[in-house]
Structures are given as structure tokens and as C-alpha cells.
């Protein structure tokens, strides 16, 4: 078991974030978090990445209970961040370096790799995300879709075991969406665990192995495999309208 959530609740100051979540995720799964806006998809990703800690309930990662006290230790926190990478919904905030190449190299440089190895990772990640031509551009000046791809490249460069993606296909052209989904499928085939939040079922139905559907009460309404979902046309129709 890679990840486990037990009776997990998260409250924002004036509203609920997540209510009583129970979930288990195995390594190598491709999971799509579906649900209406504000249903808790992004909040769950924040908790899984260690950016937020639950108010109640438990979160286990590799049989280690992740708590605020555990994350207060910088070594634990950094170890978790090495294993879990996240692409934010607003990738603007994720890019802070002066060039795309510097942005992608930021993570690997901390891993103690040689300059050549860092350079190799940068080149590979830019090629995988079709950003090679953007290499010397300033991230601030990129378009929304380009920023998404560069953000993914910068996360991939750290080679995390788990990839958390918050609406990664928004703002991408159809061709770029297809390219990114193909890359994600390849990563899953290589053993990475992918957890992707989306509210567009059409975009993700072909790639998701398992669909976790949130309702507007911030709870998990359904947790179905892709095979089961294909046998439930009414649920598919419901997801199409999200």
C-alpha cells in the first residue's frame, strides 16, 4: 500500500474542505479525481503533498503516518517532497527562476548530481514535455499552456515516485493534451503513481485506471475502476456534465 487515508477531514476557517475520506492507493496506479468545483480535489492533493495536514483522521505514506509533527522535521518534509511531486493548478506560482532551463535544473541540483547529469535531466525533461525550444525563455513570459508543460518538466526532473497533478490539461491545446496524456501513461507504465484532479471527464476517460468521484459535500461519492465505469453509462453521463 502506497497511500492510505483513514477518516480524514479537513476544514477551512469558514467552510469544509474534506469530510471523512477513506482511501487506499497502490503504487503504479493512475487515478483521476473527479468532481465539481470546490468539492475538495485540490485540498486532497495539498494534503497528499504535505502542504496541508488534516484536522482529523490519518494519512499514511509508505506505512509512515504523516502528521504536522512529522512534517515539522525538515528532513522528513524534504524526503516526502523528494518522493511526491506536484503540479499546481495555477502554474504561475510554480515558476520563479530566470530561464526555463534554470527552472528545470533547480530540483536536480539539490540532489548532488554532477553538472553533466543535471544537464542531461534538463534536456530529457524538456524533450519529454516538448519544451526544448523554450529552454532559454523567461518562464514569466510563457503562455499558460507552456507554463503547464514547463512546470511538469521541473517536477519530473526530481524523479518523484508519485505525481500529483491539479488540472494539468487546462489551457492546453488538444494536441498538447494528447501529448501530455501519452507522457503520463508512459510514466505510469514505468511504475510512477499518478493522481490527477480534473473536472473534464472527456479529457481523462481514456487514461484513468481508477476514478474517485467527489460530491459537493466534500465526500467521496464513488470510487470505481475504469472497467466498472465503462459499464455504467448513467455515471459516465453524470461525469460528462461536471
Amino acid at each position: 500500500m502506497l497511500l492510505k487515508l483513514a477518516n480524514l477531514c479537513y476544514d477551512y476557517p469558514n467552510t469544509k474542505g474534506l469530510v471523512d475520506l477513506n482511501l487506499s492507493i497502490n503504487a503504479g496506479e493512475f487515478i483521476c479525481l473527479m468532481g465539481p468545483n470546490g468539492s475538495g480535489k485540490s485540498t486532497l492533493l495539498r494534503i497528499l503533498s504535505g502542504l496541508a495536514t488534516p484536522n482529523r483522521g490519518q494519512y499514511w505514506f509508505h506505512d509512515q503516518l504523516i502528521t504536522a509533527a512529522y512534517l515539522a522535521d525538515a528532513q522528513h518534509r524534504q524526503r516526502l517532497h523528494q518522493q511526491i511531486g506536484m503540479v499546481f493548478q495555477n502554474t504561475d506560482v510554480q515558476l520563479f527562476n530566470t530561464s526555463v532551463a534554470e527552472e528545470v535544473a533547480f530540483g536536480p541540483r539539490q540532489l548532488g548530481l554532477s553538472a553533466a547529469a543535471v544537464e542531461q535531466r534538463v534536456t530529457d525533461c524538456l524533450a519529454l514535455t516538448a519544451c526544448t525550444t523554450l529552454r532559454d525563455r523567461v518562464p514569466y513570459q510563457l503562455s499558460g499552456g507552456e507554463k503547464k508543460r514547463v512546470a511538469l518538466a521541473s517536477v519530473l526532473a526530481l524523479n518523484p515516485d508519485v505525481l500529483l497533478l491539479d488540472e494539468p490539461l487546462n489551457g492546453l491545446t488538444i494536441a498538447a493534451q494528447q501529448q501530455m496524456l501519452t507522457l503520463l501513461q508512459r510514466l505510469r507504465a514505468a511504475g510512477k503513481t499518478i493522481i490527477m484532479a480534473s473536472h473534464n471527464f472527456q479529457q481523462v476517460q481514456a487514461v484513468g485506471q481508477r476514478f474517485i468521484i467527489f460530491n459537493s459535500a466534500h465526500q467521496i461519492a464513488a470510487d470505481v475502476s475504469a472497467d466498472d465505469l465503462h459499464r455504467q453509462p448513467e455515471r459516465q453521463a453524470q461525469l460528462m456534465t461536471l
Partner: protein
């Protein structure tokens, strides 16, 4: 340098990353996230801590009360009257919930200490009596301002200013400044979180990153300013606020001013 395998995943990406041996202690950026979060919580200020449902006092009356109190404290040179004003404030503080009262006391003590340091030279110039007197007056003004901050939302402050017919430019500047501070603070916090997520070991030059972060923040604020201006213009804003129908003042609003007015009358009768 060419990618290792153009159509396949590179080997390093298919193998698990070995754990880093030497992780660092809490980084400069992690520590600052906590401070920024606290600041944003203060700026967010979603609701006032006291919400009288049966007797809400108009926003402009609250503002007038604050202004009268500050004016009175500034001009009074009589210790007994100053004591009376302190009692009025203490009476108001009794209605605060315990947690908010603790917050009030903590921030009031800190701000008073800073103010005391500023007026400290008067000890050598005119003696301890003056220092004590000015210290008391300053801390009382700060306490009133702190109480107002705790019990009034930014929106109420703006409504109060509009009702008192303050210049539009002042209201607009204040409104945009508050919105901007919150928005840019939120942006910076998210950037620090993103940075934290990609920090897996000690950053060799953390202070160099500050330049990049604040450079980004500056560019973002500039872009936001242009977008905000365009959005306001597109919605017909011409630099003048349309006055919303004002809430009629109730006799209770005026009654709430009575302690301050009594203090003012006492000041006139007793003088200094």
C-alpha cells in the same frame, strides 16, 4: 546535449531516486511561510469577532467613535480623564471572547513596547513623568486602534469612509491597497509552497532566490494592476464611487457615541 532516448523515458526516470543522506534543517523559506500565513490570516479578516445581531452599530458611527477617542486621548492632559477613557475601553474589551482578548493583549503589548522605545528619549529630555504620561497616551491610542481592527472588517471600514464622504481617491487607494496586499501575499505564499515542494535538500544560495521571488512578485503586481484597471474600466468605473443607499442611523447608534461625548463634555468642563 541530445535527449537520451527521444521517444522513450530516460533510464533515470524509470529507476527510483535514492534517498538523500544529508537533508537540511528548516529552511529560510519554510520559516517565512509560517510568518506569511499569519499575516494573510490577519489580512483576510473574514468576520469581526463581535457580531451584535440585535444591535448592529453603523460602520461610520464606529469610525467616528474611534476618531473621537483618538482625538480625546491626544488632547487630554488630565490623568483622571485619561483613566476614564481607559475604563470605557476596558468595558468594551469585556465583550471580547477570551481567545480574541489574548490576541488583543499580545499585539497591544508589542505595539506599545515599540511606541515606548520611540518616546524613550523624552526620559532624558524631560524626566520620567513625561515619559509615563506620553507612554500611557500612546498605548491607549494603540489599544483603541487595535480594538477597532479586531471588531471591524475592512469592508466596514470602507463603508464607513464612504458614508463620511471621504474623497473617492482615498477610498479607492485604500481598497486597492488592501486587495493587493492580500492577493500578492497569497501569490507569494503559493510560490513559497511550490518552492518548498521542490526543495529536497539545503539550498546553497537561498538569498539569491529572494531576488528571483520578489522580481516575479513585482512583475505579477504590475500585470495585476493593468488587468485590474482594464477590468474596472470595462465595468464602467470612471474614478467615482456610486454612493450605495445609506443605512439610516438609529438612535442606538448615537447612544453608542454617548460615552465618548460624556468624556468630551468632561474635558470641556474640567479642561486641563
Amino acid at each position: 546535449m541530445a535527449p537520451t532516448q527521444p521517444n522513450k523515458l530516460p533510464n533515470w526516470l524509470t529507476e527510483p531516486e535514492p534517498p538523500l543522506e544529508s537533508a537540511s534543517k528548516a529552511t529560510f523559506f519554510q520559516r517565512n511561510q509560517r510568518h506569511l500565513r499569519q499575516l494573510l490570516t490577519k489580512l483576510a479578516q473574514p468576520t469581526p469577532v463581535i457580531q451584535p445581531t440585535r444591535w448592529p452599530i453603523a460602520a461610520h458611527i464606529n469610525l467616528i467613535r474611534l476618531l473621537i477617542m483618538v482625538l480625546l486621548i491626544a488632547i487630554i492632559n488630565n490623568l483622571a480623564l485619561l483613566w476614564c477613557l481607559g475604563l470605557i475601553l476596558a468595558g468594551q474589551l469585556l465583550w471580547l471572547p477570551p481567545q480574541q482578548l489574548r490576541t488583543f493583549v499580545k499585539s497591544w503589548l508589542i505595539s506599545s513596547l515599540v511606541a515606548l522605545i520611540i518616546v524613550l528619549p523624552s526620559y532624558w529630555l524631560t524626566g520620567p513623568a513625561t515619559l509615563l504620561f506620553f507612554g500611557c497616551k500612546t498605548s491607549l491610542i494603540l489599544a483603541n486602534a487595535q480594538y477597532y481592527r479586531l471588531t471591524t472588517t475592512f469592508n466596514d471600514l470602507l463603508v464607513g469612509l464612504k458614508t463620511l464622504r471621504c474623497p473617492d481617491i482615498l477610498i479607492m487607494t485604500l481598497a486597492i491597497a488592501i486587495t493587493y496586499l492580500r492577493m500578492l501575499g497569497q501569490y507569494l505564499l503559493l510560490t513559497l509552497e511550490a518552492l518548498d515542494l521542490r526543495t529536497v535538500a539545503s539550498t546553497k544560495h537561498p538569498y539569491q532566490l529572494i531576488g528571483a521571488l520578489f522580481g516575479n512578485l513585482y512583475l505579477k503586481s504590475y500585470a495585476y494592476a493593468l488587468e485590474l484597471y482594464a477590468a474596472m474600466e470595462a465595468r464602467g468605473f470612471n474614478g467615482h464611487y456610486v454612493r450605495a443607499p445609506q443605512r439610516r442611523s438609529h438612535w442606538r447608534d448615537y447612544l453608542s457615541l454617548s460615552p465618548d461625548l460624556v468624556a468630551l463634555i468632561l474635558l470641556i468642563l474640567w479642561g486641563n
